[in-house]
């Protein structure tokens, strides 16, 4: 096995492969949504549109073309951009063009960009929670192995994995907002608008998602810490009189954290697609909610667009995680 770190070509190869998979995925989704019941033109126009109007809308949305022509246009938009004329004006949709929403004539890219800050706010904040809470808990239960502390923590983390996020969020909202009134009922405020209000309103969603994820991280941290603690090099430093604290912080943690960090990167990636249930629960106008809403209204371009963005985020996150992991643990060979 080669020891040299060969990150760049590896990542490039990975991304290329993933791009292909994403394209296939987009195609499959595209095809899938063709089968969804409902005439998109009628839906977009409104139920009391005249047949002539529906036909006109159909033409504008490009729905009068054959399925494969529409798909080709979609691909063309994706790689070269395309124009949409809407009578009054011609809208240019620049290169990674995911099309126009059928519900309102906005560009899908615009809608996604609009949802991104909220989703990112949620994901990053939650990550802070799970990294502190989850990793802390996991570490504690690994170090107190066999003790009562560990048992309590184990039950708590198991409970965490056993609670669906919507129940957790509901209970938290009940307790914190209704009974104790420590926090407002969350209502998203953009960071750019009012940082303090943003944080205040996001606190509960962060806690909910963070707590929910914490359980997983506690388990991972615990098992990976235990694994490292059982490794021979830990024994070496113990046998050389290095204090237990130094052994844990300097040697065990260093070995235990890479998988945690890698998983964080991956989770962060998949949350870019929105932690759907959490966003729905707290009314956070992120990508997850955009996706649910557009699936319901059969807004094909938005669905395909969001899924592509999610897929890309996931793939990138995976590659980043691999690289982080390899940087942290040079023994892992990228292949």
């Amino acid at each position: 096995m080669a020891d040299r770190f060969r990150g760049v070509p590896f990542v490039a190869k990975r991304l290329l492969g993933a791009a292909l998979v994403l394209l296939v995925l987009a195609t499959v989704l595209y095809a899938l949504f063709y089968l969804v019941p409902g005439d998109p033109a009628q839906l977009a126009c409104g139920e009391r549109c005249s047949p002539a109007q529906v036909a006109q809308v159909r033409g504008q949305l490009g729905l009068d073309e054959s399925a494969h022509a529409q798909y080709l246009h979609f691909l063309q938009g994706l790689f070269a951009g395309r124009d949409y004329s809407s009578g009054t004006s011609v809208q240019h949709c620049a290169a990674p063009c995911l099309g126009l929403s059928r519900q309102n004539d906005q560009q899908v890219t615009t809608l996604i960009l609009a949802g991104l800050p909220a989703t990112a706010s949620l994901a990053f904040g939650a990550m802070v929670v799970w990294l502190t809470l989850g990793v802390g808990t996991g570490l504690l239960s690994a170090l107190r192995r066999g003790g009562a502390t560990e048992r309590v923590l184990t039950v708590l983390t198991l409970a965490g994995t056993g609670t669906p996020v919507f129940i957790l969020g509901l209970l938290l909202m009940m307790a914190v907002c209704a009974y104790l009134q420590w926090l407002p009922f969350p209502s998203y405020v953009p960071l750019t608008q009012d940082a303090e209000q943003w944080a205040w309103n996001m606190l509960l969603p962060w806690l909910t998602l963070g707590l929910f994820e914490s359980a997983k991280y506690a388990r991972l941290t615990r098992s990976s810490t235990l694994e490292v603690l059982a490794e021979d090099h830990i024994r070496t430093f113990r046998a050389y009189g290095v204090s237990e604290r130094a052994v844990v912080t300097r040697h065990a943690l260093r070995g235990a954290l890479p998988p945690v960090i890698a998983l964080s990167a991956i989770d962060l990636g998949s949350m870019m697609g929105g932690a759907m249930l959490t966003e729905q629960l707290f009314g956070i106008p992120g990508l997850g909610r955009l996706l649910i809403d557009s699936v319901r209204s059969v807004d094909l371009p938005v669905v395909v667009g969001v899924v592509l963005v999610i897929g890309t985020a996931v793939v990138v996150a995976n590659a980043v995680a691999d690289v982080l992991y390899a940087l942290a643990d040079r023994r892992v060979v990228l292949s």
Binding site: Q42, G46, E47, N104, C177, G283
Partner: protein, 575 residues
């Protein structure tokens, strides 16, 4: 017609609605004297900021695309129309009154020509005068396909409306609609294909809002529509998710006797979960004390909880809106072609369990007539197939026997799988009440969109399904015509005449009444027509919904008219 919103309703999604009703009691705290019961005691004053908490985003904010009843709520703060609804509570609120126009319009040539005169001195938000050409242009652009979404009446009634495709270059043919004339800057004349007595009602819709042609940006106009009302749009964030409005300095109180416009600014926040909205209103902390909602009701669980809290109860306003939830038949499907079967089902229906399934008697009143129980519609009480609260199985069996089904029969009831008015709970309630009469009901659930498509499919609609109908304005015509006028059977689009009733006598009656400009006289005849059609048991009216609206604790001057059933935000004050 109000069914459209359904299309995009987040129905199932709102199931995530967790109503932390709990908070209601706990949060209201020591505020016994705080709660201001609806309209009344202290005099409302100008100033302050009103917050509106809504669940549906105002993603359409173009007057051409809005489908409103009476001009809408938030839209009517920005858009004035030729006429508007009377801004008063209850029954008085069902009247139509002049807005931009000096009166309700002058009909001539047997009500096929309607002439309006604009008030003097009307101005847009930029200070430029509002002319009749602006109103005409506003109506014209609503014909453009890219601005579709409004009600179909203009297209059906205006001469040349069916072929006109709007003023933009995308549309074919002429760019102007000649049946709208503007002889001078203040006068506008509409020429119709037939006599329409209801035209003043139609003129309340936002398509009658003046739009300055020079500032029309097509599909982008909704980002910043030019205001003619008391407020103008300062900021439209995220496609209508947040609208920030402030006073329009060029609006004159003297020229608008309907809108009170007490608050200085209005902040509309939408995309919220309905549970969260009600929770925030009940907690009323911070800005939420000055908050109202224009689209969210109290749900059953919230009502169950609120019943225990007097101070909260005082902040709840009750609203009615012309709406009927009913069972529809497609007589093309056997055995619903037999009146006896339809009658049997009408007899067997147990309305109280249906009502319980949608939230109980505080949220729904049993309906035996198709027309809503409001005077404006011409409500004439009748109960042709008395079923009582829980159904009348004996009469039902009798009717069945007459129709030739001695041993009962098996039918299929189609419903939406999304929980709600047309959802599985209502379906089960119907199933169980019909079972008592020996009618075995098989349930067939369809996913939301598919269900709607089926409901509106003239040829393929199911034999028996749950549906609903609402009023575009409080009059008999828009309530009855789409459902029972044989000429409104739509073959290649959304059809609402599910029974496909095409009775020349009925059709003639429709034409006659709709031409009446005496609205009271018309109402009486609508009532009689409803009763007459009811005898055929083409529908089984189930209930009329009732709305319970909660407001923030500082809100004064709560006005809920029977036209909309929602509190009118042009009337509320926060000081």
């Amino acid at each position: 017609m109000r069914d459209r919103r359904l299309l995009f309703q987040r129905a199932a999604v709102t199931t995530v609605a967790l109503v932390l009703l709990g908070g209601l009691a706990a949060c209201s705290g020591p505020q016994d004297g705080d709660a201001k019961p609806a309209a009344g005691d202290a005099k409302p004053a100008k100033g302050g900021k009103l917050t509106v908490l809504n669940s549906d985003t105002q993603s359409d904010f173009d007057p051409a695309r809005l489908y409103t009843s009476g001009g809408g709520n938030v839209p009517s703060l920005v858009f004035r129309t030729l006429t508007t609804r009377n801004r008063e509570a209850g029954e008085a609120g069902t009247e139509v009154v002049p807005d931009l126009a000096t009166d309700l319009g002058t009909p001539s040539e047997n009500a096929t020509v309607w002439t309006y005169t604009l008030k003097k001195g009307l101005k847009f938000e930029d200070g430029s005068p509002i002319t009749s050409a602006d109103v005409k242009y506003g109506v014209e652009r609503s014909f453009a396909a890219e601005l579709s979404g409004g009600a179909p009446y203009l297209r059906d009634w205006l001469i040349g409306g069916d072929s006109y495709q709007g003023p933009y270059k995308s549309g074919k043919g002429k760019k102007t609609l000649d049946s709208i004339e503007t002889p001078d800057q203040r006068t506008i004349v509409f020429r119709l294909k037939k006599s329409v007595g209801d035209f003043p009602y139609l003129a309340t819709q936002t398509q009658f809002t003046p739009v300055p042609r020079a500032q029309d940006t097509g599909t982008k106009y909704e980002e910043h529509p030019v205001s003619s009302g008391p407020y103008k749009v300062v900021r439209n964030t995220n496609d209508g998710e947040r609208l920030q409005l402030e006073r329009n300095p060029h609006w004159s109180e003297k020229l608008d006797d309907q809108r009170k416009a007490y608050p200085d600014t209005v902040d509309v926040r939408s995309g919220l979960d309905s549970a969260v909205i009600n929770q925030r209103l009940s907690t009323s902390s911070g800005d939420d004390a000055n908050a109202v909602t224009t689209d969210t009701n109290l749900g059953p669980a919230e009502l169950a909880q609120i019943g225990q809290d007097k101070s909260l109860k005082a902040r709840v306003g009750v609203g009615h809106f012309g709406y009927t939830n009913y069972l529809a038949f497609n007589p093309d499907v056997k055995p619903f072609d037999k009146p006896g079967v339809r009658q049997a089902i009408s007899y067997a229906i147990g309305r109280s369990s249906v009502i319980n399934a949608v939230g109980g008697s505080s949220l729904a009143e049993p309906a035996t007539t198709f027309l809503p129980d409001q005077k404006a519609f011409g409500y004439t009480p009748y109960d042709h197939f008395p079923a009582g609260k829980n159904g009348n199985p004996e009469k039902a069996r009798e009717a069945l026997k007459k129709a030739g089904y001695k041993n009962g029969l098996t039918i299929t009831l189609t419903h939406s799988t999304e929980e709600g008015e047309m959802g599985p709970k209502v379906a089960s309630a119907i199933q169980q009440s019909l079972a008592k009469a020996g009618i075995t009901v098989k349930l067939k659930g369809l996913e939301g969109n598919a269900y709607n498509e089926k409901r509106w499919d003239a040829d393929g609609s199911p034999g028996l399904f749950i549906t609903r109908w609402g009023a575009d304005w409080p009059a008999g015509y828009p309530f009855l015509a789409p459902i029972f006028d044989g000429r409104q059977i739509v073959k290649d689009g959304a059809n609402f005449n599910n029974a496909k009733l095409d009775d020349p006598a009925v059709n003639k009656e429709f034409d006659e009444i709709s031409g009446l400009t005496d609205l009271d006289a018309a109402a009486k005849r609508w009532g009689a027509l409803d009763s007459r059609i009811g005898e055929q048991a083409l529908t089984v009216p189930l209930y009329h919904p009732v709305y319970q609206r909660l407001v923030g604790k500082n809100i004064r001057n709560v006005v809920i008219s029977d036209w909309t059933g929602v509190l009118d935000i042009s009337q509320v004050a926060v000081k």
